[in-house]
Symmetry: C2
Subunit: 231 residues, 2 copies
């Protein structure tokens, strides 16, 4: 299990180290400052444990940490986080496409597998999938060198009525929600016609594959869409 980032790092990283780094990355992406309590809530440990771990990550130069001020990834830390995220998303797609595992069940499995696959297995998986760019939820898969490109998109809840969009990304890892959305045919790449929006952030009326559905406002906020090219 020689890792790509192995050369840059003093001591080997546990699954937990990797989970923390991944969490910090994802929280940083959300924009706000990453406090230890936000981090602890995200990973499901107590704030004290997060402080503890963050200190260790700082010693390894994976994060910059100043007491009471929150935490930031270093370049090396970001490399690690992106590698884990690459593993995760490649695995999700692989499980979905190669083993027909429904998109609402790939996350938990990938969550464990991501920490134990070797670089060469990662490569083999990427090759067998044709070097894909997004996972089954439309989340971008970082490249081997750590680049990640976010396709421009907007939440369906803010889109214009009367227009047709392509669904590019579903911002949820909640199994039940995903299963529900799946029953409506709402997967990335599907076309959605936005028929009507109730006022005051009310539900949304949309048409997918000729069938009309009502969707709660907050649910529509999870659906990132892009206008059709010729629209």
């Amino acid at each position: 299990m020689t890792k790509n980032y192995a050369s840059e790092i003093s001591s080997p990283l546990s699954s937990n180290h990797e989970d923390y780094l991944k969490a910090i990355y994802l929280l940083e992406t959300r924009g706000q400052k990453v406090t230890n309590s936000a981090l602890s809530e995200y990973i499901g440990f107590t704030p004290a444990s997060a402080t503890n771990m963050v200190k260790k990550l700082a010693q390894m130069d994976l994060v910059v940490y100043e007491r009471y001020q929150g935490v930031t990834l270093t370049d090396t830390g970001r490399r690690v986080a992106l590698e884990v995220l690459r593993h995760h998303r490649l695995l999700e797609l692989f499980l979905h496409k190669t083993l027909d595992i429904p998109w609402d069940r790939v996350h938990d499995e990938a969550e464990r597998l991501e920490h134990v696959i070797s670089e060469s297995l990662e490569d083999a998986i990427a090759a067998s999938l044709g070097y894909p760019k997004v996972d089954p939820h439309g989340d971008p898969i970082p490249s081997k060198s750590g680049e990640i490109n976010h396709t421009p998109s907007l939440p369906l809840s803010r889109a214009e009525t009367g227009r047709t969009y392509t669904l590019v990304q579903v911002l949820s890892h909640d199994n039940e929600r995903l299963a529900y959305l799946g029953t409506l045919g709402l997967h990335p790449d599907v076309e959605i016609h936005l028929q009507e929006r109730a006022p005051f952030d009310g539900p949304v009326l949309l048409v997918v594959a000729g069938v009309a559905h009502a969707l709660a406002f907050e649910m529509a906020g999870l659906l990132q869409v892009a206008p059709l090219p010729a629209d």
Copy 2:
């Protein structure tokens, strides 16, 4: 990662627990009594560590352990060992067939993956492979209910000269040895004609796919063969 054996077991098992149980199973299969030092050597820890762990496994009713007398699997312990072994061998075959990973590189990968795949992923893998009976080395894959059938076979080093055999199993996990055997075309299911044997456990002359090779006695001892049905 709800395990099949979960219902029978008090506390969850770590990867290490599973590795110990698997090792005990494999050593038991070899026939001799499983001492803690044999066990410790097999798994690569000190004898003291093995004693330590064996005590814990005994508390969990996974093994029967009597001081200075070695260790034996209970029925539950054997169930766990066979489940891990099933994971391992299914994964080896899956990596080999689905991702074209050479047979001399599947072992180490499977060694880590076996501890983290869910029962449902195990099922999906087994189904996608058509419920196979053996892994790429010819080792039998235990069934979901814990049955395992050893095809009758004999080591090539004890076979009769002048006859043709089917290679059914290669008893080695050493990467280099496997790679070497692979270059000779020696994979399970291949036909081997045993041409000649040097006396006093000397090398063996055999023909594989029309090509003659000399093989050291000990290497031939790793090749389990069965006589051709009509021979």
